[in-house]
Symmetry: C2
Subunit: 432 residues, 2 copies
């Protein structure tokens, strides 16, 4: 199919967001007689599940980000637009972009994902960055490495607080961050300093609920807690966070002096519901039916973290890459069938491919529902799955090589501080 | 040698700057009975000769930056301090750091390098970033990629200016930037857009003097001009820049509309002379004798771009990595001999290992004085030399692999836009 064969009368599908869900929809519509426009505010698809490795200096930003045009450039019927979306008019089926451009659509797919949420305490954001974007990952990297540098200074006043790292939130994100910070301190930085011993850093994982990894079976969570303890992570459960300041965090009535606090606790759907004017569904997500149609809004679909799609047990499916990807493949195929041959597809069904969390070198957990896996085999499986999942072949080589290298040497390749580790962080740093 | 065997009475050598020169001094003093402190404002050694590849999305920042602690961490007698230097008191042999710390020294080595210079037009900096730091390289990458994105927008007002890239300065830096931008547009981005054809971008190299690459023999410069023309770079000589604004550049009385202007024209030594209170030598550099001693200041040495060290022809040696590295090795050995066994070394002599510039794929020039090389063999030699020069083995594997990959596919791995390509750029962006 040549670009000149694109018919301007073909129906137009607009997809907002080039995450796992949005990309999958677009790829299913490649080479079909429809026009597709993918709108994203970034020029890259972000492999969020590995972002914590950028935050802890194991990978470079470009290792987990792939230009969207690079992925979709080969399909003549797909156009990519780099922009924010500022308005959706579902009545006239029109989108307004931050660039001023307007886009008419026949079908609209909202796949804008989620953002970090501070449970109403937005003032914590400055002291406890989350790890949802490249900018945030880079900020965390600078803060963590900067704290060791500050502690190394002669006469550092606050060495204990500088060498204490608190991670808030005992879900997979918090566990992965805590494990990775611990390994950075214990192995990668171990022989680099003269005044401090990085391996003595305190890494504390704070969870408000009764146990970490509440989405996993208890036996796996217990294993994870032991594995974390082995690499020096102290797990504190049942202590809700009360305040976070530049000096540290108060949780469960107790003040922990810590110059570095990382946020792995909450996510919230992006503001697409507000743009659409639809009433927000469970957890603020867009309520969709079993064909991913947004309730009450014709020709608009939603999937991934932004959508509340009920699973077989009647609760919304979790915000996982595999959910978004399966929904995207389903919706792309369904839209193609409907628009090209007028066929209606069966409802969407989620197939659980296993839920994983990595604690560190040789330690991970995998939950397949009926089967469970932990330790070295789970880690190996996790590593293989994540390398294979990476979008692009070049990345596959590079990431495998870096892993292999790190595995053999305990080194980290991306240990550069490029934004000032100032604290509290300014708005400019976060929005950069 | 164990850390506990470091004698606090050993003489103390302080090195400011962990570039090619400073690092070489430190490495020569490793395992000698001296205490060494390396002070740098960044936590990484930067491989500046490859920085233009970060600016044009071929490499990631971490590929050209290596943590200083990683390089020097294995030597117990070397300490690394991450800080600016705010004062030098040569009388009392004391340094003041930005952190407030004071350092007494017995010998001081100034190896702070150079910074970009706008010939008194600092207002151009906002419109024409130079490529001397990771932050600047990242800014250039965002601007160049952002210009294509803006041009792709429906109804882009200024498509011609968006698709015009002007590089100021016909030295090796300007030539390398121009060639690399041209290859990015012609190969890496070629099939990625729908409304524009990146391969039709205008890339203009503007030189104030009568020819480009004035430090090279004329035959090589002529070859470089032909090679640049082949990949679509227009070379304009004898036209001095008059103004640079957000809309474009006026040179030789002519206005060129261009939304992206890059600065490869001038460098100036860092402000070490001012800190030291020594009268600036040729070109504002610190005047040093043939043993790299700063004229008129006892126990202070300078080398690399910040020092004006006269070559055999009586003119200052050029600001090249190989000059700094040779001087560093010389000075480290000389200091060790002097402090350990009281021997005086012979004066420093520079051995020209060949001067290179790369134009693009398969096209480079090499000048060895008596011998000259151009085209494919020069390119091959350049690639091998630069891979070998990279400090660290891990980087060697990674960079070679990325080159191999780019070579086979014309792709670029680091094409992510992470700082806003706003224009004119704010101070915050540059200092980020």
């Amino acid at each position: 199919m040549d670009m000149s064969t694109i018919d301007p009368n073909w129906p137009h599908v607009v997809i907002i967001g080039a995450g796992f869900g949005g990309l999958a929809v677009a790829q299913q519509l490649a080479h079909a007689p429809v026009r597709v426009t993918v709108v994203d505010r970034n020029n890259y698809h972000l492999f969020v599940p590995l972002l914590y490795q950028v935050a802890t200096a194991a990978l470079s930003p470009a290792d987990v980000a792939e230009p969207i045009r690079h992925i979709l450039g080969r399909y003549p019927n797909i156009r990519v637009v780099l922009s924010e979306v500022t308005g959706i008019d579902a009545g006239s089926r029109q989108l307004t972009l931050g660039t001023g451009e307007r886009l008419d659509y026949d079908r609209l797919v909202i796949a804008t994902g989620s953002t970090s949420s501070y449970f109403g305490h937005d003032e914590w954001r400055a002291y406890a960055p989350a790890c949802k974007s490249i900018e945030e990952a880079r900020l965390i990297r600078s803060r963590v490495l900067g704290a060791f540098e500050e502690a190394e200074r002669d006469g550092a006043a606050d060495r204990e607080a500088l060498m204490t790292f608190v991670i808030v939130g005992g879900g997979p994100t918090g566990v992965e961050l805590a494990g990775s910070v611990a390994e950075l301190a214990r192995y990668a930085l171990a022989s680099d300093f003269r005044r401090i011993r990085p391996e003595t850093a305190r890494i504390i994982l704070v969870e408000g609920g009764p146990r970490i990894l509440s989405a996993f079976p208890e036996s796996l969570a217990r294993y994870a807690e032991r594995a974390l303890a082995r690499i020096g992570v102290q797990v504190m459960t049942d202590i809700p966070v009360e305040t976070i300041t530049a000096e540290g965090l108060t949780a469960g009535g107790r003040f922990i002096p810590a110059r570095t606090v990382l946020w792995g606790a909450g996510v919230a759907p992006t503001g697409a519901a507000a743009l659409l004017g639809a009433p927000p569904g469970p957890g603020g997500r867009l309520a969709v039916d079993d064909r991913l149609r947004v309730s009450g809004v014709a020709n608009v679909y939603a999937l991934g973290d932004v959508a509340a799609c009920l699973g077989e047990d009647g609760t919304p499916l979790p915000g996982l890459a595999q959910v978004a990807q399966q929904q995207g493949r389903y919706l792309g195929t369904a839209l193609r069938r409907e628009m090209v041959s007028g066929q209606m597809s069966k409802p969407f069904r989620f197939h659980n491919r296993g839920n994983a969390a990595i604690i560190g070198r040789h330690a991970a957990i995998f939950d397949f529902g009926r089967y469970r896996l932990k330790g070295y085999p789970a880690w190996m499986l996790w590593a293989i799955v994540h390398v294979v999942l990476l979008v692009n072949f070049a990345q596959r080589i590079r990431v495998s090589l870096q892993w292999l290298w790190r595995y053999l040497t305990y080194r980290r390749g991306a240990r550069i501080i490029t934004s000032a580790p100032a604290r509290p962080c300014k708005e400019a740093e976060l929005s950069d």
